[in-house]
């Protein structure tokens, strides 16, 4: 065996070892029992739950802590009823609420409705989503806006899972200021 083949064998071994470090698998861990929690963690797979899923909806007829039921149904009559629903937020905090509303609007709404509510969001301009109306051309109130965020309307899905009650009212109030600006 000459020197060349010896070097070849060593190189081959090195390649073999490094080839195991592929990015589709996790690396070795020092002490796995310190890495994984004994208690259940969010999104963990759990044997005894349906489908093994730990992320579940609240049990029927119960309310999650901090969740306030809305009380108006997702029907045409419900939407009419919601039109007259006033915002429960403290008017003396209006400036702060609108600031938060704007921040949230930019994350959750402007992608379709546009930054100023004219229905020309980025997805609309790319023709991924069509027919998003301008707030100026629709008869909306703060109550009906909240209702639509909660239940969705036609092609718009519900955003109740992403925003909590207060945040939804903040966004609704901000949407009304956008409408005012558009119809000025």
């Amino acid at each position: 065996m000459n020197n060349f083949s010896r070097i070849g064998v060593v190189l081959g071994l090195v390649l073999l070892v490094t080839a195991c470090a592929d990015k589709r698998n996790r690396n070795y861990e020092f002490m796995p029992n310190m890495y994984y929690s004994v208690g259940y963690e969010t999104y963990q797979q759990v044997d005894f739950l349906p489908d093994g899923m730990e992320a579940l909806e609240p049990v029927a007829n119960t309310v999650a802590r901090g969740w306030i039921p809305y009380g108006i149904e997702n029907t045409l009559e419900g939407k009419e009823l919601a039109m007259t629903n006033p915002s429960p937020l403290d008017p003396s905090n209006r400036e702060e609420n609108l600031k938060m509303g704007k921040e949230l609007y930019t994350i959750y709404c402007s992608i379709c409705h546009g930054n100023n509510g004219d229905g020309q969001g980025k997805l609309v301009k790319k023709e991924k989503f069509l027919g998003v109306p301008s707030y100026a051309s629709r008869d909306i109130t703060v109550g009906s806006t909240y209702h639509v965020i909660y239940y969705g309307l036609n092609s718009m899905g519900s955003h109740a899972g992403q925003l909590d009650t207060k945040e939804r009212w903040q966004v609704a109030e901000y949407v009304m200021t956008l409408k005012e600006d558009l119809t000025k």
Binding site: S37, I107, G119, S155, G157, Q162
Partner: protein, 443 residues
């Protein structure tokens, strides 16, 4: 059964000739078509109005919230359509049988009334729905065809060049071997011995080395140090998953959603604002958009060469959307949920060990750190991967360098003023606020 060769021959020939015709005189044909079918509406204006007001609930060809509208102008009388579009609920309440039938067929969803439309506006829209102008399609086809052929051409030429290079390399090696053997033969023939010269040396080199004790000592120390260096390096990467990019059950592309379409990270990962966990969006959130977007049409210029090489065609992505429908139990044709769901087993990418506490909301909402600071350019990742090492050293480095964001946070303003006086600095880093204390993260 008989085999039918060229089953769609007639329609194909017709289609091809139609496209040809459009390419030759496409504006002419479009104009003619519009005039022939309606005689009064302007389909271009109609398209604009349709996209602006109708497309939220109607498609031309498939069921959405409302019925597909292609050819609707021929299906109903014009006067009935005027009434329906301006105020459908009045028509339904008046007991019109057609109106009630549609209302019930589409889950009693009330159509938004459009009283501001003039007869001309409605004619324009109907002109568009009855004969949608083929210009954009023809143009897209024309643009895509040369792009595709050009792309294929460059791919082939690349392969050709590579093949030629490999062939040349092979030839060179063969030539070298041939030259070597002939030279050896010449040497043998002329009586020169090549092999024996080596053997005549006295002591082998390793024996000489072993006899020199100083050299052996230096060599041993050197080997120990290098060994320690590599062993240290290897042990330091144990438990670090930087670059980990598992294959997910549904190929979700952050590049398309966050990059091309510029959807905010927090649109889907909304709990990052308020919770310890950034949150894996549940499938109903996907359906917020994908109830309507049921196929991937890609960028206007079509998929890039790299995407095609990886197999990321438009059909591939559309197939992944169908996987989502299957998982969430969405019947596309009936537009309703069947109730048969299959949970998607996403593979977790970022995982801090249990002994380290990390809270997203503290970093995202309070500190106002961009997601990309830790997660890297996610908007460019086709397959999500771990960008940061997530080691303690990495955490601490950032805490040492990052100034505390005090704006609009009364609590921080006060404590910031006190602490900066204590440390004699103008701006406090997270570390000086206690970001290095063990019990902040380990307890």
């Amino acid at each position: 059964m008989k085999k039918v060769p060229y089953r769609n021959l007639i329609s194909k020939v017709l289609g091809v000739s139609l496209i040809g015709l459009m390419l030759i005189s496409n504006s002419l044909v479009a104009q003619d078509a519009a005039e022939v079918t309606t005689g009064q509406g302007d389909p271009a204006k109609g398209r604009q109005l349709f996209n602006q007001d109708c497309a939220a609930c109607h498609s031309l060809t498939r069921k959405m919230t409302g019925p597909p509208l292609a050819g609707v102008g021929e299906k109903y009388e014009r006067d009935w359509l005027y009434k329906w579009i301006r105020n459908s609920s009045a028509l339904i309440n008046s007991g019109d049988p057609d109106a009630i039938k549609i209302y019930n067929e589409y889950n009693q969803a009330m159509m938004t009334p459009f009283p501001m439309y003039s007869d001309q506006d409605i004619d324009d829209i109907l002109a568009y729905t009855d004969a949608p102008p083929a210009e954009p399609k023809a143009a897209a086809g024309g643009a895509a065809a040369p792009a595709a052929s050009g792309g294929a051409g460059s791919g082939i030429s690349n392969e050709l060049v590579l093949g030629a290079l490999i062939a040349i390399l092979g030839l060179l090696i063969i030539m070298l071997l041939l030259v070597n053997t002939t030279l050896r033969r010449i040497a043998e023939a002329s009586g020169v011995s090549l092999e024996k010269e080596k053997e005549e040396k006295g002591m082998p080199i390793w024996k000489a080395f072993a006899k020199n004790q100083f050299l052996v000592l230096v060599f041993t120390i050197f080997m120990l140090l290098t060994g320690a260096y590599f062993a240290y390096g290897w042990m330091m990467q144990v438990g670090v998953d930087k670059g980990y990019a598992p294959i997910q059950p549904i190929h979700y592309s952050h590049k398309i959603h966050a990059g091309d379409n510029e959807i905010e990270c927090k649109y889907c990962h909304s709990s990052a604002r308020v919770s310890k966990n950034a949150g894996i969006p549940s499938l109903n959130l996907c359906m917020n958009c994908h109830e309507n977007i049921n196929e991937y049409t890609g960028r206007p210029e079509g998929p890039s060469q790299e995407d095609l090489a990886m197999g990321y065609t438009n059909e591939f992505y559309t197939g992944e959307i169908k996987k989502l429908y299957k998982a969430v139990g969405w019947d596309e044709d009936e537009r309703r949920y069947t109730g048969e769901t299959q949970p998607v087993e996403w593979v977790r990418v970022h995982n801090l060990p249990d002994f380290a506490y990390f809270n997203h909301s503290q970093h995202v909402s309070v500190a106002g750190i961009e997601c990309q600071t830790c997660h890297g350019p996610v908007e460019e990742m086709e397959i999500m991967e771990q960008y940061a090492p997530l080691t303690m050293g990495w955490c601490i480095d950032c805490h040492r360098q990052t100034d505390v964001k005090v704006e609009g946070n009364a609590y921080y303003e006060k404590i910031h003023a006190e602490l900066s006086e204590k440390y004699g600095v103008e701006k406090l880093t997270a570390a000086q606020m206690g970001g290095l204390e063990c019990a902040k993260c380990h307890y």
